[in-house]
Amino acid sequence: MIHTENLTRIFQRKGEPPLTAVENLSIDVRRGEVFGFLGPNGAGKTTTIRMLACLIRPTSGEALVNGYRVGEDNDAIRRSVGILTETPGMYDNLSAAYNLSIFARLYGVDDADAQVEKYLRMLGLWERRHDEVGEFSKGMRQKLALARALIHEPEILFLDEPTAGLDPEAARLVRAFISDLRGQGRTIFLCTHNLDEADRLCDRIAVFKTRLLVVDTPTNLRRKLFGRQVVFHLRALSPGLVDRVMGLPFVHHAESIDNKLLVRLADPETHNPDIIRALVEAGADIQFVGELRYSLEDVYLQLVNTPSTT
């Protein structure tokens, strides 16, 4: 659905050294997936979205969006993508319905009024349709901006920080709405700083810092970076227990913290019973067993803060 090959954008301003915002970005976003694009501030996420939405030109490289080539088929791309910009950017003096109808007409939507009604109702803003957007709360404005991005029923949706600055309730509503959109088969390119949000919504994530660091599913990234670790909570940790577990052939690593035994291994489902058996035989009382789950934040920080990561 989205394919980029060595996409690069360098900003050149008079009297300033060239600034490389995006360098040799090569990604493939599949149809119908939610693709998370994570990176620190200034990493080039917004620049990437702008290039893919044909708002700014790439310096080099190429990109295909919905089968259309960026730079050549810009009109076709603009018709097939919707964009939620970092700030809602609504016309504050105009009503919610009028704001949407402007964009419905610019996108050439056949029955603009019906489409406006559909999205205002869907996002719970129908009763406030005649109110000026300037009177809306942040959450309502964001929902309206989402409706604007969807008004022409695009196949691809670019969402730049959709829940930034929203209170937890509004953020939850927006996330639920994005989740519904995935159910409709749309491809969603999601830029976010909210790693919990990315973890919940994204099928795959790309970690990006001017250049692409890694692309994979959140689960695979955890496994690649940290392996799988099982934690055994014991009543007491007797001497020699760690060495005994380390002696098992399938155990990659074992260590103890207080009364807990942390074991890294490739296939816990197969080998946990063997470890439990060995521990019981060694006289250990096992209270709980569980898999240690690293957060996406751990993954992200590991990737972004490791200079050699590629």
Binding site: L55, I56, M90, N93, F103, L106
Partner: protein
Amino acid sequence: MPSPIAVKTIIRKEWAELYKNTLVLGTVVFLPLFLAALPLLILWASGDIMGGTAEAVGSELPPQMGDLCRGLSSGECGQLLIVSQFTLFFMMIPLFIPATIAPYSIVGEKTQRSLEPLLATPISTVELLLGKNLAAVIPAVLATWFAYAFFAIGARLLVASPQVFSRLFGPDDLLQVLVIGPLLAVFSVDLAIMISSRSNDARVAQQISSLVVLPIVFLFIGQLAGILVFNTLLTYILLLAAFFIDIILTYLSVHVFDRETILTRWS
């Protein structure tokens, strides 16, 4: 070929926003009324000084102005000379109103951060600027014409002599208001778009844009001082100049409005 739907949508949006901006709306409504009422007041005040013949004043006037008064009484001549100075006001209106509207139109998009979603639609730069241009030009031209019609009706009622009336609304005057006026409005909008494309502050853009009335002010002063007379030749020179400058400025404004630069600079 620009899409009429896109252009119409932008015009309607601009007007919807204009309608909510009392400062700009006030300028569109009251400035033309004021500038139309001012010469009418002078006509009314000078109504009782009519009398005598043109020859009585002709010797004291520059030759070009004396020609204007041929066949009129000194009072009629006085009325004509005073009021004809003010017809230049009707070329100031189409310059000033767009200079008030247009900066809000571009910089307003910046302050509301609404330009990025707008540029993400399939609208072309030409359609966007044409919509914004017409949204400022049409009210300016209509306001000028209404003010001029108001002035014409008032003048017909206040000026006793049909000769003075016919000289106040001669072919040159009609050409200035009906043709040069709209050309000046386009000139003013193009300039305002160029300035506001480079500016981050609507007020600054508006202040700079309003300097567009200066050439007409200079003409007004020149005419008052008797240095020049707005005759047929000068009218045609102004018509041609406005026409060609409009073409150049329209071309430049489209090129100065670089979507990418504006987006990245305004972020």
